[in-house]
Symmetry: C2
Subunit: 204 residues, 2 copies
C-alpha cells in the first residue's frame, strides 16, 4: 500500500491543479483531423489555452484487440501507415468506436471487419489515454479468445491491410525489435501486448 | 526465430502496401495543433487521402524519462491535463524534442525543467509511435540513473505540474490501477514503465 504521506501530497496537488472552469473559444472541423480550443482556469487561479485533437468530429475513442485463435495463435495485421517510417506496420486489430457504440461492441466489430475472425469469449484488459496532453481519446484493450475465421474481411474506405497468424513468441520477438525491419512500434499494440504479458506472468 | 513462411508473407504484404509516392495537398497551421494532408499512392496502385497531426509546426517527436534517484526512488510528476477525466494526471517527466535538438539532450533538458533533477547516467529503452495512423511523432524512452535535485524546476508557459518521489512498488500499484482515483493512464508513461519492468525481469 502506498504510504499516507505520498497519497496526501498527491491529493493536495490534484486539488490545486484541477480544472475549475473551461470555455470553448474556437474549433476547426474540416476533414478527419480537427481540434477544439478551450480557455481553462484551474483551482489555483491560473489560466491557459488548451487545444484538443478531434478525429472525425469525435474525441477519437478507440479499441485494440488481441485475437487468439482456438489453437493458440495470435492474429496481427499488416497495415498501410503512410505517416511513419517504412510506411507499413505490424499491429493488433484496432479502430475507433462509432457514435453511440460501446467499446466491447466496437472491439468485436473491428476484429470482424479487419480480419474476418470472431471470438467465442472477449475480456477487457486496461485502458489508457493515447495522448493525454492533446486529446480526450481513451483506448481500451480487449483479449478475444477462441477466434476462428467466420467471413472475409470488410474494410473501410481507404483502409489497406492484411492479417497474419503467428505465435506468442513471434510477437515477443517483434516487440523486442532485434530486427530493424520487422518491429512493432505502434503504442497501442505495445501496451496491449505488454499488459497481456505482465498479467500472464502475475506481475500486474 | 520467426519461421520463414511468416517472414515471407509479411515481406510480400509490406512490399505491396508501401508508399510509392505522396504529395502534400494542403496544410493547416494555426496555434499548437495543426495538420498536413497528403494524397498517397501505394505500390499496389491504390490511392488515399492521409492526414497527419502536427504540433507546434513539427512532427511532435518527444521523450519520456524514468528518473531514478541515488536511493532508488522514482520521480513522477502530477500535471494539469485539462483534456482528460479528472483533469490532473500522474506521469513520468516528458516533453517534445526542440527543433535541431537530439532525443537524449531533450530527455536531460525535460528532466531538469520539470523536476530540477539531473542524472549521472542515462540510457535509452525502446521507442514507439504515439499514434501511428495519424501522426509521425516518435517517442523515445530513457532511464535516468543516479538522479539528484540540482535546481528548482523551470516550466514552460502554461505548464502546471509538481514532482513527487515514490517507490517502484507504488508505481506498480498506480499502473495496476486498483484505485479508481489514483491511476496512471498516460500511454507513454505506461509503455515506459512496462518496458522497464519486462527488461528488469528478463522477459524483453
Amino acid at each position: 500500500m502506498m504510504n499516507a504521506y505520498i497519497k496526501d501530497k498527491i491529493a493536495k496537488v490534484v486539488k490545486s491543479l484541477k480544472v475549475k472552469s473551461s470555455e470553448l473559444i474556437s474549433s476547426y472541423e474540416e476533414g478527419y483531423i480537427g481540434k477544439k480550443v478551450y480557455r481553462v482556469t484551474l483551482n489555483d487561479g491560473s489560466t491557459r489555452i488548451c487545444e484538443q485533437i478531434t478525429k472525425n468530429k469525435s474525441n477519437g475513442d478507440a479499441v485494440v484487440i488481441i485475437p487468439i485463435t482456438l489453437d493458440g495463435n495470435f492474429v496481427m495485421i499488416i497495415e498501410s501507415r503512410p505517416n511513419t517510417l517504412g510506411t507499413v506496420a505490424l499491429e493488433f486489430p484496432a479502430g475507433m468506436v462509432d457514435k453511440g457504440e460501446n467499446f466491447e461492441t466496437a472491439a468485436k466489430r473491428e476484429l470482424l471487419e479487419e480480419t474476418g475472425y470472431a471470438a467465442t469469449e472477449i475480456y477487457e484488459l486496461e485502458s489508457h489515454y493515447q495522448d493525454q496532453g492533446c486529446s480526450k481519446a481513451i483506448i481500451k484493450t480487449y483479449v478475444a479468445l477462441g477466434c476462428r475465421k467466420l467471413q472475409e474481411k470488410n474494410l473501410d474506405d481507404g483502409e489497406r491491410l492484411e492479417y497474419i497468424e503467428m505465435s506468442y513468441d513471434d510477437i515477443l520477438e517483434l516487440i523486442k525489435g532485434d530486427s530493424k525491419e520487422l518491429k512493432i512500434n505502434d503504442a497501442n499494440s505495445k501496451i496491449a501486448f505488454m499488459e497481456y504479458t505482465l498479467k500472464k506472468k502475475g506481475i500486474l
